[in-house]
């Protein structure tokens, strides 16, 4: 009898608070979601990988330090209703857009080699093209960015202090 009461309360809670509004723990989504399908042998996971809870109307900006002489792989993942994911790489000093994945039909994975250390702003939007207008307004889901890195094969120190 007690169990039936709990079940009733649970159903009532789900009716009142739609599932997508129950707080989600997105903190390590990039370690659990589709991003992990991109995990490459020989690469290490970068600590500046990040997951956030977002609505398709949101924009997320991640300011990330990329050390030079390293290859990175940036992999984006989200709940299936949130795709495609639009991302850009922006030079925060000049605001120059260095890359925009709209030019590559919203690819979700990009390799970037950094000859020199740079701070880069990664902007992320979940376009949610398969969601209805109502879903776009009301849904909140996890979006993750997994960053992997490895040193350049032959470490070429082409920077000298002057």
């Amino acid at each position: 009898m007690k169990n039936i009461r709990y079940l009733y309360l649970l159903i009532l809670a789900l009716v009142i608070f739609p599932l997508n509004l129950i707080a989600q723990d997105c903190v390590n989504y990039h370690e659990l979601g589709d991003c992990m399908l991109d995990k490459q042998r020989g690469y290490k996971v970068y600590s500046q990988s990040k997951s956030v809870s977002m609505n398709p109307l949101d924009t997320v900006e991640l300011n990330i330090v990329f050390y030079g002489q390293k290859d990175y792989i940036l992999s984006f993942c989200a709940h299936k209703k949130m795709y495609p994911i639009h991302f850009t790489l922006v030079d925060p000093e000049s605001r120059q857009v260095l890359y925009d994945n709209t030019n590559d039909r919203y690819i979700e994975s990009l390799g970037v080699g950094f000859d020199v250390t740079k701070s880069i702003t990664v902007t992320i939007q979940a376009l949610a093209r398969t969601s209805s207008e109502n879903e776009v307004e009301h849904s909140v889901g996890c979006v993750g960015l997994l960053i992997q890195y490895k040193n350049y094969d032959a470490k070429k120190v082409n920077l000298k202090m002057q």
Binding site: N55, V60, L62, I107, G111, V116, K118, H138, M161
Partner: protein
């Protein structure tokens, strides 16, 4: 334009609840009149549209140190904060900063493949993290895994990184951005301290100096993040003040041209992602003069000494 946006985002969820409750029953519902009309809903949506979450992220201690080529260097235990100092740290600020310092020392031991020291520093990181109320961030499984793989150099590095990331995750889950600032500040200062002590001769320290110069990006991110919490957390405000002299040295750096070049190296295939290469072109990178290096060395040693004394 900072971490505060994260909290605005939480506020947005609160705004969304009545909106969804109001629009969740489009027909057949007797909604109480006047609670929310279309215009209000539209305004809320517009406000939501303007929302932007901005994060400034910092590298882990292991990543900051791994940039340094330790190949020809000897392990120097005298540079580390002794594990016996752990009892000195009593208040939240000194304990959390010490946690960042110990996490960096752990990474230093791991990079050199020093088995015994790595396990000792992992234990001290665990005990200080408990003291800083990051309960369970370093769990038994991680410690046991480190013990079982102590002979594996790569595994030690990954374990030290995982320990730091777990602490960040813990802080995020428990809404403790101030703790992330203190932890990151402690690890930044210690990594700077180790690097400045590795420079014997300015004229022959090319790559190390470049690393020290590059740390301006990590410091900038840390400071923007910290500034967003200034006034909300007195420990963060105190750390901003502590870092002031170092920030001013970095602000005085000759900026370099700042030019960026970008080229496509490979197009995407089913086996590999598209690859770009970002470089500095023919431009000169920012530079740290001999005078600035000396100032940075002295300020770093002064601040770090004060922090380890608790």
């Amino acid at each position: 334009m900072n971490m505060k946006s994260k909290y605005l985002h939480s506020g947005k969820l609160l705004l969304l609840i009545p909106l969804v409750l109001a629009t969740g029953c489009k027909s057949g519902c007797n909604r109480a009149p006047g609670k929310i009309d279309e215009q209000e809903a539209s305004e809320i949506v517009q406000r939501i549209e303007a929302m932007k979450q901005v994060y400034h992220l910092c590298p882990s201690p292991a990543e900051m140190l791994s940039v340094i080529d330790f190949g020809d260097m000897n392990f120097n235990a005298d540079l580390l904060d002794p594990v016996s100092n752990a009892d000195r740290y009593l208040d939240t600020k000194s304990t959390t900063l010490a946690l960042g310092i110990y996490a960096t020392d752990l990474a230093y031991c791991a990079i050199f493949g020093r088995h015994e020291e790595t396990l000792n520093y992992l234990e001290v990181v665990r005990s200080v993290s408990e003291k800083a109320r990051l309960t369970g961030a370093i769990d038994d499984e991680l410690v046991q895994h480190a013990r079982d793989n102590v002979a594996n150099l790569d595994s030690l590095f990954l374990m030290s990184n995982e320990a730091f990331i777990n602490m960040l995750f813990f802080c995020e889950r428990n809404d403790r951005p101030g703790t992330i600032v203190l932890l990151s500040a402690g690890s930044f200062i210690e990594s700077l301290y180790l690097a400045v002590n590795l420079v014997d001769d300015y004229d022959n320290a090319g790559y190390l100096l470049q690393h020290l110069t590059d740390q301006k990006y990590a410091l900038e991110n840390l400071m923007v993040f910290a500034e967003s919490l200034k006034g909300e957390d007195e420990n963060v405000s105190a750390v901003i003040e502590d870092l002031g002299p170092i920030v001013r040295i970095y602000e005085g750096l000759e900026a370099g041209s700042g030019a960026v070049t970008i080229r496509t190296q490979t197009e995407a295939t089913s086996e590999q992602p598209k690859k770009l290469v970002i470089g500095g072109g023919e431009s000169s990178p920012p530079t740290l003069s001999a005078k600035q290096f000396e100032e940075l060395r002295q300020e770093t040693i002064r601040l770090r000494t004060r922090l380890v004394e608790g």
